[in-house]
């Protein structure tokens, strides 16, 4: 039975996209047994995942069927209006499209979501294939970014992670931010001033967490990050305003750590992408359309089967009209809504490889701004307490920003972005006041909330193409540390698209396959 679904497939050379080949190579290596008949000799960089799957589940070998998605749509355009559209007469002031004279009906790559990830991917793709090399369209439903995670984020940059991929992405992000003004400048465009505050990150650990912190520190320094460990005595010497009760070990980032302005980076990427020719469309994604493709097998090995290839995305414009965009490749960078949008492509509502949904959902997080006249001075880094609360200085007038990730049973509802001030009074303030005695006398000034694109599976990014829908790539699920990884992720997706594999940073462990084989890749340092 399993022969039919995935193994033993050989494609005729005239059959379509290379993405098909790419997609079918991955799952086969995941699920095939020890017979090395179909080993990949051409691709030395890929390690076979067959030794990762210890137990066979019969569900894995069921046939993958994509459920029927949106009805095929041929929007009716009045012929005279259509002619005017083509001639570019009426479309000139079209608010739906940013710089296109008429609504684009096809493209090479459509990026769903115009936040920091979408704009970064669009920039990197167009860098590689500008002018007519690649036609890239970004579908973003809210160009004012009122609810986007990007602009509501605290904008931290740190290398203190426990996974080498995350550390490398942060190092690349720091280098990119340093050169952002030059790289994102253009003919009539000044590069962004990202306002980097190089104050460092300070992680505190109790006796329980000290071992993990030391291991992380070894890994971070081996990859080139400059992190220093402090004992409680040295910590008190360096930061006299801190109360070192319960702190066994602390790690402080000496270089390339701090916070920056996410708005500036977003605008930098967006404006440069527009200058390079990316088209931004203001629309909401409402559905995908598939095309039935017959996949032939080698005679005697398997039978031909039907593959539903994603071909077209339906988007609803602000005037209610639904239009379609044909694409060759789709990148899912929709942030907190990625799980929902992926369902429109059948991921999570099909069978076989489509049975598991993308486990990314919005989680609301609060950030509180208060004034503390006795608080720490200029040397206050972004301190992450042993309890998970964090705080940092904001500006020069004695204002601070604090927050905390709630525990699983305290998760706030996601219906709106209203702030719960009792969470500050009961959870955040006692903990930071215990850590910094100067925070006992504070006045809460304001607060805001935003959504994490939270990966419920293992709180790490999902990057790479889906095993079945080979032309749908994910760049989402960052669970709170997306903004600093955005340049690296954009480059990684660009390398996947153009070169077919990761070149700079190997992000294969963050692929979608781990969700199907149930092998989480946990990050220990989540704030």
């Amino acid at each position: 039975m399993f022969k039919r679904a995935i193994t033993g497939v050989q494609l005729k050379p005239w059959l379509k996209s290379k993405y098909l080949v790419q997609s079918l190579s991955f799952p086969v290596r995941s699920f095939c047994n020890s017979q090395k008949k179909y080993s990949n000799k051409g691709d030395e960089s890929d390690k076979p995942l067959s030794n990762v799957v210890p137990d066979f589940q019969s569900e894995l070998f069921e046939e993958t069927r994509c459920p029927p998605l949106t009805q095929p749509l041929k929007p009716f355009l009045h012929p005279i209006k259509r002619s005017f559209d083509y001639l570019g007469i009426t479309g000139r002031n079209d608010p739906q499209t940013h710089n296109n004279l008429y609504f684009p009906r096809h493209c090479d790559i459509v990026i769903i979501g115009g936040g920091i990830m979408g704009c970064s991917i669009a920039y990197w793709l167009k860098q590689r294939g500008h002018d007519n090399g690649l036609r890239v369209i970004v579908v973003e439903r809210d160009p004012n970014y009122t609810r986007a995670s990007t602009v509501l984020s605290v904008g931290g940059l740190r290398q203190q992670f426990s996974l080498p991929e995350n550390i490398q992405m942060s190092l690349f992000g720091a280098e990119f931010l340093r050169n952002a003004k030059r790289l994102l400048s253009g003919e009539n465009l000044e590069g962004p001033d990202v306002q980097f505050h190089p104050y460092g990150y300070l992680f505190l650990a109790t006796q329980k967490g000290a071992d993990q912190l030391m291991e992380n520190h070894k890994l971070q320094t081996s990859l080139g990050a400059k992190i220093k460990l402090f004992s409680p005595y040295k910590l008190k010497e360096k930061f006299p305003w801190i109360n070192t009760d319960g702190v066994e070990l602390a790690s402080f980032g000496q270089e390339n750590e701090g916070w920056f302005d996410p708005w500036a980076l977003l605008n930098g990427f967006r404006n440069k992408a527009i200058e390079l020719g990316v088209e931004f469309v203001k629309a909401d994604t409402v559905g995908f359309e598939t095309e039935d493709t017959l996949v032939h097998s080698k005679p005697g090995v398997g039978e031909s089967f039907n593959y539903n290839k994603l071909k077209r995305v339906h988007v609803r414009l602000t005037n209610g009209e639904v239009r379609t965009i044909d694409f060759s490749l789709c990148v899912m960078a929709a942030g907190a809504q990625s799980g929902e949008v992926s369902k429109l492509a059948g991921i999570g509502i099909g069978t076989g490889l489509l049975r598991k949904a993308l486990p990314v959902e919005p989680r609301k997080r609060y950030v509180y701004c208060f004034h503390a006249p006795d608080g720490p001075g200029l040397d206050c880094p972004l301190t992450v307490d042993t309890t998970g609360s964090y705080f940092r200085r904001e500006g020069l007038g004695g204002h601070y920003i604090a927050g905390k990730s709630p525990t699983a049973n305290e998760e706030p509802g996601i219906a709106n972005l209203d702030v719960d001030y009792t969470f500050f009074d009961q959870q955040v303030w006692p903990e930071i006041a215990q850590r910094v005695p100067g925070f006992e006398n504070i006045k809460l000034k304001s607060a805001w909330s935003g959504y994490y694109d939270y990966n419920t599976f293992d709180q790490n990014a999902v990057i790479g193409s889906h095993p079945y829908h080979g032309n749908l790539m994910f760049a989402t699920g960052f669970s709170g540390h997306g903004i600093q990884h955005a340049p690296a992720v954009g480059k990684a997706i660009m390398e996947l698209v153009v070169d077919g594999r990761f070149i700079d940073i190997d992000l294969k462990r963050f692929g979608f396959e781990r969700i199907l084989t149930n092998h989480p890749v946990f990050e220990q340092n989540i704030v």
């Binding site: 179909y38 505050h197 153009v498």
Partner: protein, 235 residues
């Protein structure tokens, strides 16, 4: 990837990359516009400058970090001074070698002072100045490429030993970079001035002096004395 891998002669010449790259390159227009040419030229010059200042591991391994820094700085127009020696070591325009600078590893040579004023030192170049044990004095006066990231690197690298820092006339430095100098606990003298991008510089310097009690900052006028004399005429 499921095509059988037949070894043919022409496969030796096939590239490992995807063929999409060739298609995309063909569809790209070569940048002949004035802006494109200018940008390509300035990118090439920038690349050349950065590559000339990259960290050379062999140099540091052979000479030791202190003398390697001396070589790096002096060959680019700077001056250094070692502990126990009174005179600055500076390059001699008439000769090939730099007098008094050792050309092999000597344990007794420890760097005391580095003067990089007026050098076009970039962020990547500062990596050459790492692992020095007792650097006390550093001058980056009028270095046009020193910015907040460079100050972050300096304050991270020399946080335990530096006592004198001069960053006058570095146009790219903002108040955030100066605030990051709070990591340097032993800093005694800081010279600032000539930073058009720095806002609220007086406030940042006051707060910096709060955090680092031994510090005196020179070049900042906290109190504008002309305002004091005008008061009487108003009343």
């Amino acid at each position: 990837m499921y095509v059988e891998n037949k070894k043919t002669v022409f496969q030796l010449f096939s590239s490992q990359k995807n063929y999409a790259i060739e298609v995309i390159s063909v569809l790209n227009a070569i940048e002949f516009s004035p802006y494109g040419v200018k940008k390509a030229w300035s990118d090439w010059k920038e690349d050349k400058l950065v590559r000339s200042q990259l960290y050379v591991k062999e140099r540091a391994e052979f000479l030791g970090p202190e003398i390697a820094t001396g070589h790096f700085v002096c060959f680019r127009g700077g001056k250094v001074r070692f502990y126990g020696h009174k005179d600055w070591i500076v390059e001699d325009p008439d000769s090939d070698i730099i007098p008094n600078l050792p050309r092999f590893y000597l344990e007794s040579y420890k760097m005391e002072a580095v003067d990089c004023s007026k050098m076009t030192l970039v962020y990547e170049g500062l990596e050459n100045m790492k692992n020095m044990e007792k650097l006390k004095w550093l001058s980056l006066e009028s270095c046009p490429r020193i910015d907040d990231w460079c100050l972050d690197r300096i304050s991270g690298e020399f946080c335990d030993t530096l006592e004198y820092l001069d960053i006058r006339s570095c146009p790219l430095v903002t108040e955030k970079g100066i605030a990051s100098l709070s990591k340097m606990k032993k800093l005694k003298t800081l010279l600032v001035g000539g930073h058009p991008e720095a806002k609220n510089l007086e406030l940042v310097c006051l707060m910096l002096e709060d955090v680092l009690p031994e510090l005196t900052i020179r070049g900042i006028l906290y109190c504008d004395e002309s305002l004091l004399t005008n008061d009487e005429s108003h009343e």
